[in-house]
């Protein structure tokens, strides 16, 4: 384990814990942004530059902004002293159980000890060519999905407003 | 077409930009401490006290009547009347201000003190560079700082000063006439004491002349 990996991984996991446990929703969203940035750092560690920067562009630049807007538009009217969680112990127990299962699986598997091959030559050109040839159907489906999601989001968020008029 | 308005506007601002370098009509800025605009004749800032003789304190026209103190809307004038009397510019014995302070931080330059003063002794100055490091003591000016000569008044407000001088001249003339009449009356009285003839006829004689002098001065004001 190298030092940069340890720092980035610690930051990512720490901010993810903060994102799930802080009371203030905006603080949660900001910690989430740190998690996304840390993940982008991990992608860079894995020589996946393109996906790493796409991660920042999409998650930090768009998804985080969406979440923050949603938080501000749904200002909580509930009393402050109400607990932020429901039946925390069951959920945490489930999560810890899932983690232990996965950790044991990783430790038991020989795949986990695999050491990286020399950094592969990743060119954006070949990635684009792959997207336009081998993966052209998923790409088109993705385009359709994004359009549908955009229209759907607009219509869902608009409906109530029209009803009020 | 979209964008033509933007281009037109940019040409206009470019004209302004270039014009401000060579066209003095466009660039009207005066760089103040070095360059100054001469103050306009009707400009007024804060009041000052007019004096006539060389010694400012002796020549003050103010007689400490305290009308301005009472009329001042923000009450920025503070006057203490003197215990003794002294001769004024007409030679009459008058009180004079032992203390005459104006708090310039309170004064609102309304000129009411000037309007109500019957002695032409308080006028508006054009001096405006009064900033001070002491905001309480520095802006509370006393009679020594307030006293300025009649020549100064003539310089800053020539028209007003001429009118004021005319009023004063008329008053002086009236006072002199009265003094003369008094002296004549006294003489007549003395004569009447000797033999009371013509004293009743001569005494009211100067009276009509003084309103005439006052009306003569009025159009000039």
């Amino acid at each position: 384990m190298t030092l940069p990996f340890a720092i980035i991984a610690g930051l990512t996991v720490g901010s993810a814990i903060a994102a799930m446990s802080l009371r203030n929703l905006v603080h949660c969203a900001l910690s989430l942004v740190l998690t996304f940035a840390g993940l982008a750092g991990l992608y860079l560690q894995l020589n996946a530059e393109f996906v790493g920067f796409t991660q920042i562009l999409v998650y930090v630049g768009a998804v985080a902004i969406l979440i923050v807007f949603a938080i501000l538009l749904t200002r909580s009217t509930e009393p402050k002293d109400e607990p932020a969680t429901v039946t925390p112990w069951i959920g945490i127990a489930v999560a810890v159980g899932a983690f232990l299962t996965m950790a044991l699986a990783v430790l038991a598997s020989p795949v986990g000890k695999r050491v990286a091959a020399p950094a592969p030559e990743v060119s954006v050109k070949t990635l684009g060519q792959k997207l336009m040839t081998d993966y052209v159907l998923p790409l088109e489906v993705m385009a359709l999905l994004l359009t549908a999601a955009m229209l759907g989001a607009v219509i869902i968020a608009m409906k109530d407003k029209e009803g009020q008029r | 077409m979209l964008g033509t308005g933007i281009l037109k506007g940019m040409v206009e601002t470019a004209k302004n930009f270039a014009g401000s370098y060579h066209d003095p009509e466009r660039l009207t800025t005066v760089e103040y401490p070095e360059q100054r605009i001469a103050s306009k004749e009707n400009a007024r800032q804060f009041p000052f006290l007019v004096h006539d003789t060389e010694d400012p304190m002796k020549g003050l026209r103010c007689v400490a009547c305290q009308i301005c103190e009472k009329e001042c809307p923000p009450q920025c004038i503070y006057i203490v009347k003197s215990k003794d009397k002294r001769a004024d510019y007409k030679g009459q014995m008058q009180f004079y201000p032992a203390t005459f302070d104006i708090d310039l931080s309170v004064c609102m330059s309304c000129q009411i003190c000037v309007e109500v003063c019957p002695f032409e002794s308080i006028k508006m100055d054009t001096e405006f560079e009064l900033s001070n490091t002491d905001r309480f003591g520095g802006l509370l000016v006393n009679k020594h700082q307030l006293a300025k000569s009649n020549e100064h008044y003539r310089k800053i407000h020539p028209t007003e000063a001429a009118a004021s001088d005319a009023v004063l001249a008329a008053e002086t003339a009236k006072a002199q006439a009265k003094a003369k009449a008094d002296a004549e009356a006294k003489a007549a009285k003395a004569a009447a004491a000797a033999g009371p003839v013509g004293a009743v006829a001569s005494a009211p004689a100067p009276k009509p002349s003084s309103p005439a002098a006052a009306t003569a001065a009025a159009p000039a004001a």
Binding site: V26, V60, V124 | L2, Y21
Partner: protein, 419 residues
């Protein structure tokens, strides 16, 4: 002679090499990449903040002249009468903002309030790392993802704006932040799409690669230019490049919150927008980040459309000028253009702003993308003389049609009482 100018051109690069070889024996091995990075960063940190400082003075002087005023012309060398035509102003302003009291509202979220200016400045500075400032002068050459890095890092400034606006607990701050985010998200799309046209034509995401594609000798299908290599092949000289450049500039002005798109800090409506509650040095950092963001956008526009550090023509007196001087010169010209625009245009309304982004800029950039593809495909079948007007007409007609919708609203106003 040519060697001499070559030496001046490459002076920063050779200086760094020399310093590294001098330090090579002294430094431990692990520190060498750090020192090398520091040596690359130092000139950027020196030049661009200084440029920001000078721009603030030039902008104030220029706006003053546009409004028939003189502008700042007093501050010079302290304790003397030397005035330097007011160019000491930025030092005085800097000292003032340094020693001013730092006021944090009592209700503010202290940590986020403190982090926001830092979180704004760092991404803005990071964008400079991929810009090619001159020949062989790219601090961080990302051959596969240069442009993507620029936009990814640039997009994260929106979050810092939100942090600043939200943590201040001030309705004007929050309104300003909301306006800024809505504006930046909307204008990011035309910005990226207009840059994408260049990426499509150049075939690379690397910014230094894009500059090299605009060189004289590189054979590019369909870029006008002298076959002998006298005239540069800037993308600006193509119809799609010309239109794309102006679309890019418009979107860049909106991204950088410049007039006429400076609604987030419309002082007549919402005080100073998201940095209302910032004072002293934190405010100065916001100001610095805003201008550095503008410079980075201008630098990107130069790299994409104006040939980066390339001179416009390939003969003697022009090629003697060092490449970084060309870059800085083009940057200064664009900054002057932005100052000029600021002096000319009034601020837009929010609905006009959004309408302009979605109804005009977005369709125009999409059409531009298609026209660029056509330009590339027709390169071998139609000669340049016919292709240029054809493609330009294909852009001009939609421009006119889309632009009409924005003109019709500005009818002459009738005043009931004044007339």
């Amino acid at each position: 002679m040519a060697d001499f100018f070559q030496a001046i051109d490459q002076f920063p690069v050779t200086l760094k090499h020399w310093l590294m070889t001098q330090l090579g024996g002294v430094l431990p091995e692990w520190a060498e990449p750090l020192v090398s990075a520091a040596l690359s960063i130092t000139p950027i940190l020196a030049v661009f903040p200084l440029m920001f400082a000078l721009t603030t003075v030039i902008e104030r002087k220029g706006l003053g002249r546009i409004q028939n005023r003189i502008g700042p012309n007093r501050v010079g060398i302290p304790l003397t009468n030397i005035r330097l035509a007011g160019f000491g102003q930025f030092i005085a302003d800097g000292i003032k903002s340094l020693i001013k009291e730092d006021v944090v509202p009592r209700a503010a979220d202290k940590v986020v309030h403190f982090l926001a200016p830092i979180a704004l400045l760092i991404p803005v500075l990071l964008t400079y790392s991929v810009l090619p400032f001159g020949r062989n002068m790219v601090p961080l050459d990302l051959p596969q993802t240069g442009l993507l890095f620029f936009f990814a890092v640039g997009a994260s400034t929106e979050l810092s704006v939100f942090m600043a606006g939200w943590s201040s607990r001030n309705k004007y701050s929050l309104l300003g932040a909301m306006r800024a985010i809505a504006q930046m998200v909307s204008y990011e799309i035309p910005l990226i799409l207009s840059a994408l046209t260049v990426v499509m034509m150049a075939g690379t995401l690397s910014l230094s690669g894009i500059v090299e594609r605009q060189m004289w000798h590189v054979a590019m299908p369909g870029i006008p230019g002298d076959q002998d290599g006298l005239l540069a092949r800037w993308f600006l000289f193509t119809p799609w490049g010309l239109v794309g450049f102006f679309l890019f500039l418009t979107a860049a002005a909106a991204e950088a919150n410049r007039t006429p798109f400076d609604l987030p800090e419309a002082e007549s409506e919402i005080i100073a927008g998201y940095f209302t509650e910032y004072s002293g040095f934190k405010f100065a950092i916001f100001f610095l980040a805003e201008y550095l963001g503008l410079f980075a956008m201008c630098g990107l526009g130069i790299t994409l459309f104006l040939g980066g550090w390339l001179p416009p023509v390939n003969f003697a007196p022009f090629t003697w000028i060092p490449s970084w001087c060309w870059f800085l010169g083009k940057l200064s010209a664009l900054i002057v253009l932005f100052i000029w625009l600021r002096g000319t245009l009034p601020r837009l309304r929010t609905d006009q702003l959004m309408g302009f982004a979605w109804k005009f800029l977005l369709p125009m950039t999409l059409i531009n993308l298609v026209v660029a593809a056509l330009w590339h495909l027709l390169a071998n079948s139609i000669p340049l003389v016919a292709r240029w007007p054809l493609c330009f007409a294909m852009l001009a007609v939609p421009y006119w049609l889309l632009g009409r919708g924005f003109e019709a609203k500005f009818t002459k106003r009738e005043y009931r009482f004044a007339n």
